[in-house]
């Protein structure tokens, strides 16, 4: 934020609000630029498809037409919804478990040393191996699919939140003790705000990683979802359909990012004067 270079001590009380609107304007100018570059990419794609002149390189219009058709028949939303539900389940599960274990490891030396080898093992195990093992041991079920995805994500959450727990400010915890903060107050007003950047980092990278793994899980052992559809159309070499499903889900993830994650992040970090 080099634009808002007011000297801090001279800033009157309503600074936060003023900075807020300045930030809004800035975002406004960034959006058209993003749209321009998106349009450029589409144009490039259209040109490439035209030059290739091959069924395996569809034009953007072909893909869009497929998506409309698929949406009209209801197929698209069915599979999107199922995949999204799996993403949500695996995401929630891995964030909960990963946060718990990460905090434990960050605060407790014994737990850290005891669990560290497991963490290293789990994070280095290829996603495919975990998926296959889960399907074999648990069966070709929904539970196995979600367990497999969560197991792939948990170590990342653990590592991020462990750093967060290590970075907790002991000075603030002492202050909370001296002033006899209740447990709820301690968690809500002292601990969680300090973990917020770590939680945000873990969820961001989490969503992206999880939906990619969910697709693999669906491809291997489920009979619905975006991954299953891609598998199906792969057998027909139908790139239009493959791209249609992939882009539809990317659009869903973008919507989540812009409509949910970013506004939430902005809300909880409005106390920050400048981005870290």
């Amino acid at each position: 934020m080099t634009g808002g270079g007011l000297p801090l001590s001279a800033v009157p009380p309503h600074t936060t609000r003023r900075r807020g609107t300045a930030g809004g304007r800035r975002r406004g100018t960034r959006l058209p630029l993003g749209l321009f570059s998106l349009a450029g990419a589409l144009a490039l794609w259209a040109l490439a498809a035209h030059l290739a002149d091959d069924a395996t390189v569809p034009t953007p219009l072909d893909v869009a037409a497929f998506m409309v058709r698929e949406a009209a028949s209801g197929e698209l939303f069915l599979h999107l919804g199922i995949t999204l539900a799996r993403v949500a389940a695996a995401f929630t599960l891995s964030m909960l478990i990963g946060t718990g274990v990460g905090l434990l490891m960050g605060q407790n030396r014994t737990a850290d040393r005891g669990l560290d080898p497991w963490l290293i093992l789990l994070i280095n195990l290829p996603a495919l191996v975990l998926i296959v093992l889960c399907y074999i041991w648990i069966g070709l079920t929904e539970a196995a699919a979600i367990t497999a995805v969560a197991l792939n994500k948990i170590p990342n959450v653990v590592i991020t939140l462990r750093e967060g727990a290590r970075a907790l400010d002991p000075g603030l915890s002492e202050m909370a003790r001296v002033y006899r903060f209740s447990r709820a107050r301690r968690v809500r007003d002292v601990i969680l705000p300090q973990l917020q950047p770590y939680l945000a980092a873990a969820s961001r990278s989490g969503l992206a990683l999880i939906w990619k793994i969910v697709l693999v899980v669906e491809l291997i052992g489920r009979s619905n979802g975006v991954g299953f559809q891609i598998h199906l159309y792969f057998q027909f070499f139908d790139v239009t359909a493959i791209l249609g499903y992939a882009l539809a889900f990317v659009a869903v993830m973008l919507a989540i990012e812009y409509a949910l994650v970013q506004p939430l992040e902005k809300r909880v970090s409005r106390w920050r004067i400048r981005p870290a």
Partner: protein, 218 residues
């Protein structure tokens, strides 16, 4: 680090704990606050649920809460202080909706003082609350602390290595020194509060210095 350390505080009195760096002053405060439990001995607090407030060396405010929220969060159930008056007395009325990151160190220190006074404590412990402030600001804050103390009758223990500050504010000085640290002397400052001008304080300090040349230097 500490040995044979024993002292008691008269209710409503203002005591300063003086000593060179590393003589265990902060550790003593941490023991009193229950933050350091690695010691042998006992701490007797006035009454079962005596309210203790602390002002640390750093303000220790929650950066994600506004000035007012920081003060309100520390309030025990049922305590409803006159926050308007308190913020007014400390010159914080204009910044109560600001976040701590937007405040100067001097203002942040005042918020820490406001938080300590807001809970209407029985005992107030301060750990060098005015270091690294410019002298004019420090002087103003000392005046505010004295006013609030006089008004509320709280028992104050302040750690400092600034002798002039101690002689200006305290009823009694407790001098610590040595390795392991112990109490090497106690001095009453029996000057009337109205009569603590520069010369009177200097003369008093000189007498103390002569009695404890190894501990007290100005």
């Amino acid at each position: 680090m500490l040995r044979d350390l024993a002292f008691s505080l008269e209710p409503g009195s203002f005591t300063c704990l003086i000593g060179p760096s590393g003589s265990g002053k902060t550790t003593t405060l941490r023991i009193l606050l229950g933050l350091d439990t690695d010691f042998v001995g006992s701490v007797a607090l006035p009454g079962h649920d005596a309210r203790i407030a602390a002002v640390f060396q750093e303000p220790r405010l929650l950066p994600w809460r506004t000035v007012e929220q920081n003060v309100r969060l520390a309030l025990p159930d049922g305590v409803t202080p006159d926050l308007d008056g308190l913020f007014d007395a400390l010159g914080l009325s204009d910044v109560r909706d600001n976040f701590p990151g937007e405040l100067s160190l001097g203002l942040a220190r005042r918020v820490a003082l406001a938080r300590a006074f807001a809970i209407d404590p029985d005992v107030l412990l301060l750990d060098e609350p005015f270091v690294s402030l410019d002298e004019a600001t420090a002087q103003r804050l000392r005046g505010l602390l004295e006013t609030l103390w006089l008004k509320r009758g709280v028992t104050v223990l302040m750690v400092t290595h600034n002798l002039r500050e101690a002689a200006r504010l305290a009823d009694r000085l407790v001098l610590m020194a040595g390795q392991p640290a112990h109490i090497v002397g106690e001095e009453e400052i029996d000057l009337a509060r109205g009569a603590r001008d520069r010369d009177a304080v200097e003369a008093r300090l000189n007498r103390i210095m002569q009695r404890h040349p190894e501990t007290v230097r100005i």
